[in-house]
Symmetry: C2
Subunit: 332 residues, 2 copies
């Protein structure tokens, strides 16, 4: 058995994480216990929520301790199984962390359909990012045909899917992203009706003639403040993420609840994990739309587990163009 290389939390980041907040180590990995499978990581996911796990602030999940492996969802291959549900060679998705190997309880693993091509779709459009867009948009945003749906971080992992789902629901879609490459992707790849570059445009001005029925918010902060001045009556604000604030040492409040009275609007937060009992529903729909060519996607792959911290820091800075993934190993 080779040693297991892992990325652990070396220090709690203060503000913007540094590569020195992470450490690479190697440990032995045992055999799977009864009911477990040993999984080799092929791709590890890089997501904004990981920043929250690194801080001590109370949140929806327990914080990481210094020395812990960084939490992540991975695509992996079963190497050895001590559970009847999995066999060596099976492709699975699970919360395995930034490491080469993990023994996982079989009940926490999700089988990847054998013919899914590329299999990394199970980490993106037909995985947690797709599910996040699906439940956030449809269950919280409740779009109706003809609605105007604005998405922030619209070229990001969740945003690119959310915009296309809104289009499928018959909505006008407006995406907000930073920089000319992402802006081009918004209209040319993801089918947004309009694109706003927050790095060069005045977001509030660009939305002057819009009446926003659904705001799918991934970023918070100033961009969201500008969007929220353009709400339509009865608007729904879906709080998916607030990534612009995740590195703030002491984030200031950004929202006036009185706006919800002016616009008779509704703001709601959600966590995709609460919808686990409905993942199959979302996966079925998303797979069909991907197969039909109705959903396009882009991955931003970094090679090598040791580069996961760099990919993560870049993503928090908006450097990624599409779903951030780290390739850890080739399939056997």
């Amino acid at each position: 058995m080779p040693l297991n290389r892992r990325i652990t939390l070396a220090a709690r980041p203060v503000g913007v994480p540094l590569e020195s907040d992470f450490a690479l180590d190697e440990v032995e990995i045992g055999s799977p216990q009864m009911g477990e499978a040993l999984v080799r990581t092929l791709y590890a996911s890089v997501d904004p929520y990981q920043r929250g796990r690194m801080s001590e602030a109370r949140s929806y999940a327990k914080s990481l301790e210094v020395g812990d492996v960084i939490t992540s969802v991975n695509l992996g291959e079963v190497v050895e199984s001590n559970d009847p549900r999995f066999s060596p060679g099976d492709l699975v998705v699970g919360q395995l962390g930034w490491q080469e190997y993990a023994n996982a309880r079989a009940g926490t693993l999700r089988q990847v359909p054998p013919l899914l091509e590329p299999p990394t779709l199970a980490l993106h459009a037909i995985g947690l990012t797709g599910f996040t867009a699906y439940f956030g948009l449809f269950d919280i945003g409740k779009p109706r045909p003809g609605d105007t749906v604005v998405v922030s971080a619209a070229a990001g992992a969740v945003g690119q899917i959310a915009g296309q789902l809104a289009k499928l629901a018959g909505c006008r879609t407006v995406g907000i992203a930073g920089g000319p490459e992402k802006i081009r992707d918004l209209t040319e790849l993801y089918g947004y009706d309009a694109a706003i570059d927050y790095k060069s445009d005045d977001v509030g001005g660009a939305l002057r003639n819009e009446r926003v029925d659904v705001y799918f918010d991934n970023v918070g902060g100033e961009i969201s403040q500008a969007v929220q001045r353009r709400l339509n009556l009865g608007a729904r604000i879906v709080i998916c993420g607030q990534v612009s604030l995740y590195n703030a040492v002491r984030p200031e409040p950004t929202f006036h609840p009185g706006l919800l009275v002016v616009f008779r609007a509704h703001m709601e937060g959600f966590l995709v994990f609460d919808y686990a009992h409905r993942y199959d529903e979302a996966a079925g729909k998303l797979a069909q739309w991907v197969a039909n060519g109705d959903i396009h996607w882009r991955e931003d792959v970094t090679d090598g587990l040791e580069n996961a911290p760099r990919s993560f820091i870049g993503m928090l800075n908006g450097d990624n163009r599409g779903k951030a993934l780290v390739k850890v190993a080739e399939r056997a």
Copy 2:
């Protein structure tokens, strides 16, 4: 015909309104046009939303101009009618403004049941404040038996009714108000299970052992920030008012949308006027509960139209103990 005394806006208040922001004048009042009724004011209502009408900021209703009569809902008596639906002597409620007489379109008036005693209930528990509590709590807050419901400005007009409706729905109720008299009313008159005096207690500390399922918010600001740290998963925050901010010249944002993710919570604003098609439903239920002795209420009556500005300024400062009303005339 006597002259019509009116309170008009003399100047837009900056910050806390001053009595000099209002003027008293006298004008002639004509006879009602076809489809109108001439109504003599008996009681005029004093409500926080009036502060919003006095400022220029964009909101859900048009601002008052300097010289306009202050908007208000009144209980009045029909003096002369040019519409078959009303006869002299009828008691009505309508948006008549701070003045002794108004010609109102008959369709905008609401008949007060002849035996309602006292008839000012039609401005309070069986009127717009009761309707506000009813729709805000039941349609937005959606309380379930056993839920913990926290109400701010809990001894105020809407708050006192909201707390009692939550109790009727089988909830544990916690009221927040300022000063020993109101605090006594909360538990002794309005049946709150617990009362917090924000003037002497640390609100967050007092809520340490609560898990708040519904927060019916009338005040905003620091009190709300403290409550929002004690939410239960799936909490509903009903934004009814933000009175602590109405006098702020440039109110700062007070809310972190990310909290809604942590607690998978929902925040929604509403306006009672949007529920006009359901006022009869609310009036019927509220009248029954009042008749049964299930809803208690308190009025805070100021005598004389000329004292309406003083009553209003005091209410914004929290000086009123119960629904603020101005008595303008005796019934003929």
